[in-house]
């Protein structure tokens, strides 16, 4: 029984070229983009758990842009969708960033509340301004063929969004590790008071900027789902990618390079779980349980490691 389930999981994720290139990596794409959004924010000490809402706003904006440009050539439509999605995600995150900076509202609470508002907004636009012309289904009409994001491989569903994810991972790694502004982000995250007094870092300004960048990454994930996968907007556009992304980022230890690996791992899990539900009758909601266990496991593991290091230091101090 268990072997059947695991076999279905494995087959769904890696069992064939199609499983890997058209299921696993396609699901890894939004997870990578949103995982980067979360990782970058957490590095700066910004607890953005509103990536889900920022993704939704990105999807709405990208759909609106694609509908508005209609049959314009892809060379115009596709970048416009990406930029529109990023701007909308950044603006949505900007509300929480502004509330934190101006009124001291905890971003944990504000971003969660904004997630619910985003879902209500989505529910309205697919029945209102963006609904398909017959007005029967709660979804937008399909975007023009020119606005479909190009596939990267012949005959597979892997699309441009994945390339965006890889480039953004490389860029944000370089930024955090090798630039002065990336350094400011890291010190702001490590200890706001010390960063301000000893490092002369304007922490409020730095975290505000990171918040917007984080929102833009999540918004791009929404645009990429519409442009590369669904080609239309509907209510279930994200099955909780924004929440899974927290596990993606934590498992990667907030390192953009490892976010790529961790996103592919969770992408495989999601792809496998869909197959598992189909072939072995095991509910896919169990993936959520697994995601939760990964987060708890990483938290416990990190804590144990810190304790051991502490004990080693104490032992060394006592020996000396």
């Amino acid at each position: 029984m268990l072997m059947d389930v695991l076999a279905a999981l494995w087959d769904g994720a890696f069992g064939s070229a199609a499983a890997f290139w058209s299921a696993t990596l396609v699901r890894a794409t939004p997870l990578m983009l949103v995982g980067l959004a979360v990782a970058v924010a957490f590095r700066a000490g910004v607890v953005n758990i509103g990536a889900e809402g920022q993704l939704v706003l990105g999807a709405i904006a990208a759909t609106a842009v694609a509908q508005w440009l209609g049959a314009a050539p892809g060379i115009i439509t596709i970048p416009a969708m990406a930029l529109g999605g990023m701007a909308a995600g950044a603006a949505w995150a900007g509300i929480a960033a502004w509330l934190r900076r101006r009124s001291g509202v905890l971003e944990v609470i504000s971003t969660l509340l904004l997630n619910f508002i985003a879902l209500a907004l989505l529910s309205w636009v697919v029945r209102g301004p963006l609904q398909e012309p017959t007005g029967i289904y709660p979804q937008s009409s399909t975007i023009a063929a020119g606005a479909h994001w190009p596939f990267l491989l012949e005959g597979q569903r892997l699309h441009l969004g994945f390339a965006f994810g890889l480039s953004l991972a490389a860029a944000s790694w370089y930024w955090l590790a090798h630039t002065a502004s990336g350094f400011r982000v890291r010190v702001a995250g490590a200890g706001a008071r010390a960063a301000a007094s000893a490092g002369g870092v304007d922490v409020a300004r730095t975290t505000f900027g990171v918040f917007l960048i984080s929102g833009a990454c999540a918004g791009l994930a929404g645009a990429s789902e519409v442009g590369g996968v669904t080609w239309a907007l509907y209510e279930g556009i994200s099955p909780g990618y924004g929440y899974t992304a927290i596990a993606v980022a934590l498992l990667a230890r907030l390192d953009p390079r490892w976010v790529v690996v961790s996103a592919i791992f969770f992408g495989a899990l999601e792809a496998g779980a869909a197959a598992m539900q189909r072939d072995a009758g095991v509910p896919a909601v169990l993936v959520q349980v697994f995601v939760a266990l990964v987060i708890l496991g990483v938290l416990a593991g990190t804590q144990l490691r810190d304790w051991r290091r502490e004990q080693r230091l104490v032992a060394r101090a006592e020996a000396a």
């Binding site: 509340l113 987060i295 708890l296």
Partner: protein, 301 residues
């Protein structure tokens, strides 16, 4: 005419506020001990399923017990992580919420199948308090409700009194303000927080049980619908006091109930506006209140 519209609106407001107030009072106690419990949403959904299963076995009373136990049980996982392992509260809470949402979905499907023909119970009936329920306007709203609402009326002053006047309440607040100082004064902060979190979890479970047993009569995946997060916001709006929290919960109940009022008035606004309204109001109020002067000083540490 006005009364015909207002009475159902106010009744709905109190009914909707009841489960929210339970969850928020639990969160209040947790936060006064210095822990922000983002796993509350998980406790609520666990309470929903626990109540349904237990009530199916042995009636509504056992149902409430099942809800309380399920909420406290899943919150014990959270408490172990943040108190015993001292991990980050926000992340552990998020994980416990995901755990609750995922586990309940899987268990419900396992027990009742995914066809949707799950277990449906008849909800407990409202009880009109003689005399009081005859007061014009507010009478039916406040005194023609189900048992959990009446339990709430007792609980709010009790928690307020307990926090202010008992030794245990003082120990709880001291732990939340400055746990090292509390420890120096002979208080065991870990034990205090364990107690506070188990209580918070049980009340989260009670929120879920009330939803299922007094309002909906069945379970659906994700039916907690963000109430745990709203409850956290309610505590902030209630300025970390029991009466303030109850009042803020009532405000939320009213915001949710507005949709019935508007429907009755025949105004055709998109219903999503009403879904979003409570969240928008919270954000606006949080922004206006500014600062966190009344938050427990040690919250989150």
């Amino acid at each position: 005419m006005m009364e015909l519209l207002l009475v159902p609106f106010m009744e709905a407001a109190v009914r909707t506020a009841t489960p929210l107030a339970f969850a928020a009072l639990g969160e209040l106690v947790a936060e006064r001990s210095g822990v922000i419990n983002l796993g509350l949403e998980g406790a609520i959904i666990a309470g929903c399923l626990g109540a349904l299963v237990a009530a199916g076995l042995g009636g509504p009373l056992l149902g409430f017990v099942g809800g309380l136990a399920a909420g406290a049980g899943i919150t014990a996982v959270f408490a172990y992580f943040v108190i015993s392992l001292r991990t980050d509260q926000i992340l552990a809470g998020t994980a416990v919420t995901m755990l609750g949402l995922g586990l309940t979905g899987a268990i419900y499907r396992g027990l009742y199948g995914s066809g949707g023909a799950g277990l449906v119970l008849s909800t407990i009936a409202p009880i009109a308090i003689p005399g009081l329920s005859a007061i014009p306007l507010v009478g039916p709203a406040l005194f023609r409700q189900t048992v959990p609402t009446y339990a709430l009326y007792l609980m709010v002053p009790l928690i307020a009194w307990w926090l202010r006047n008992t030794h245990a309440g003082l120990a709880l607040r001291a732990t939340g303000e400055h746990h090292e100082a509390a420890e120096a004064a002979g208080i065991a902060p870990r034990r205090v927080r364990w107690g506070a979190l188990l209580f918070a979890g049980a009340l989260g479970g009670l929120c879920g049980a009330t939803l299922v047993l007094a309002q909906v009569g069945t379970f659906s995946e994700g039916m907690s619908a963000g109430r745990g997060f709203i409850a956290i916001a309610i505590v902030v709006l209630g300025r970390w006091s029991a009466f303030g929290t109850a009042l803020a919960a009532l405000g939320f109940g009213a915001a949710f109930a507005l949709q019935y009022l508007f429907q009755a008035l025949g105004w055709s606004l998109p219903y999503q506006l009403f879904i979003a309204l409570p969240y928008v109001l919270t954000l606006a109020l949080l922004a206006l209140l500014r600062g966190r002067a009344t938050a427990p000083a040690g919250l989150g540490s």
